[in-house]
């Protein structure tokens, strides 16, 4: 085995790939959120953002492919590690109790991740794999104006918030980014940032659902 493949196939290497793909996905999420929030500023701003995005043409497709690669790597490794780690304790404990380290977000990474995955299938069906007859602004109004869909979108975005509230700190730890000067509060700041991202997405959905003038 070559050096690179040996490094990346070790338990630490796999986690580093997980963290690297997670970082890339997190950056995407931030940019996506910044773009989406233009919907709060009205139809003209939002459509200008959408037009700009599409004017990127082949560049946009390049980033879509990067994103898909990172996503597939992340999901593949998540499942691989999940099943491997279950094998590391063949005989389960009769009683399991946290000694104080565990957080809800940290314990549920695989579940919040699965919710994100399922949500994405719907999300891409709604916005990407669709005949674009309507302007995107009206498409968004139709999708989020439907209460059932809006609730699913809320669940999806809150899952992203939960995932990131552990993930943003976890990736620093995995990549060895740690120093007594900033680490003591890094976990809390990362958790807040993660949740804030989820809640900001949720805010857009709530506005779309309850404000009749949304994107008109």
């Amino acid at each position: 085995m070559g050096r690179t493949s040996r490094t990346l196939s070790s338990s630490l290497g796999r986690k580093m790939l997980m963290a690297a793909s997670g970082s890339f996905l997190s950056l995407f999420i931030l940019v996506h959120l910044a773009g989406n929030s233009s919907a709060l500023l009205g139809r003209t701003t939002f459509l200008a953002y959408v037009d700009y995005l599409h004017s990127l043409g082949v560049l946009l497709h390049f980033f879509e492919i990067l994103l898909l690669t990172a996503f597939c790597t992340h999901v593949f490794l998540a499942l691989l590690l999940f099943f491997e780690n279950r094998k590391a304790r063949p005989e389960p404990y009769a009683v399991v109790k946290s000694s104080g380290g565990a957080t809800l977000a940290g314990q549920t990474m695989i579940y919040s991740g699965t919710v994100i995955l399922l949500f994405l299938v719907l999300h891409l069906q709604n916005f990407l794999f669709i005949d674009r007859e309507l302007p995107v602004a009206d498409l968004l109004r139709t999708v989020l104006g439907n209460p059932a869909l809006a609730v699913i979108y809320l669940i999806g975005t809150l899952a992203v918030g939960l995932h990131l509230s552990h993930g943003l700190w976890s990736l620093c730890q995995t990549l060895g980014l740690e120093h007594p000067k900033y680490t003591s509060t890094l976990d809390k700041k990362a958790a807040l940032l993660g949740l804030a991202i989820g809640l900001f997405f949720a805010l857009i959905i709530v506005v779309a659902l309850f404000y009749p003038g949304f994107l008109l």
């Binding site: 490094t7 338990s11 780690n85 000694s99 380290g101 730890q173 995995t174 980014l177 740690e178």
Partner: protein
């Protein structure tokens, strides 16, 4: 002030690594709250012996929290609920009269069960043999002050060196990972001048061995740090990740 309490114990009994195990329930007689957890198990064991039954097997040596031999999972927590203490240093005053305690061995694929609460932790020895040491030439010891070590670094190294290798981190980790143990060993040597010559080789070899031995991988869930009787910090896990990344990218060693 000394009181006595009575407890119900549900203890994992298993003849050997290949036999079927099961929980057995025992009622203790009056137990002094001055006793340690292991002394309480001694009392129960003596009674079982007198009744002609097999006493509960458990590991122990120093009984003062420094050797790392003792350990079991009590009500779901490695070394019990008292933070920063080994099982031998956990005292019965931390329990209430009438409590039921479920006592299980440390469970991990890498720690095969020997008998009852005794597990084989020689996987840790294999890890140490792989790099948890420094090679020095014999001869007269050099004058201590020749090696200047900043106070802060010495403190960090000593904090990591507090690890007694009990295995509670593996037992507490939802993934059965040995990252805190290996992180502590790699850190304490990587921080000190004596550890430099073998720094890259050490981390690469120990990580490879860790994977071979069947430990899980780290999910940064922090249960290890919370369960550690020596309160080894997970910043040592971050340092292990950093050392591994650096050595993998930059070192000549394979």
């Amino acid at each position: 002030m000394s009181r006595t309490i009575s407890l119900t114990l549900r203890i994992w009994r298993q003849e050997n690594g290949t036999s079927q195990g099961a929980f057995e329930t025992y009622r203790t007689g009056p137990i002094s709250t001055e006793m340690s957890f292991l002394e309480m198990l001694d009392v129960v064991g003596e009674r079982l012996t007198l009744e002609g039954k097999e006493p509960v097997a458990f590991d122990h040596d120093c009984r003062e929290g420094i050797c790392g031999m003792c350990g079991a999972v009590v009500n779901g927590q490695a070394h019990g609920h008292q933070q920063g203490t080994t099982l031998c240093q956990l005292h019965m005053r931390h329990f209430k009269d009438g409590d039921t305690l479920v006592i299980e061995p440390f469970r991990s694929r890498a720690f095969p069960l020997i008998k009852d609460l005794v597990v084989d932790r020689s996987a840790f020895d294999s890890l140490i043999a792989e790099g948890g040491y420094v090679s020095v030439n014999t001869g007269g010891a050099i004058e201590a002050n020749t090696l200047a070590i900043p106070r802060k670094i010495a403190d960090l190294a000593l904090d990591a060196a507090e690890c007694i290798g009990c295995g509670a981190c593996v037992a507490a980790c939802p993934n059965g990972a040995a990252m805190l143990f290996v992180g502590a060993k790699v850190s304490h040597l990587a921080l000190l001048p004596q550890g430099q010559p073998e720094r890259s080789r050490r981390v690469l070899a120990m990580v490879r061995k860790m994977d071979e031995l069947g430990f899980g991988s780290c999910g940064n869930r922090r249960e290890c740090e919370a369960a550690c009787p020596k309160r080894i910090s997970i910043s040592n896990v971050a340092r292990l990740n950093r050392e591994f990344l650096k050595a993998s990218l930059l070192a000549d060693e394979e």
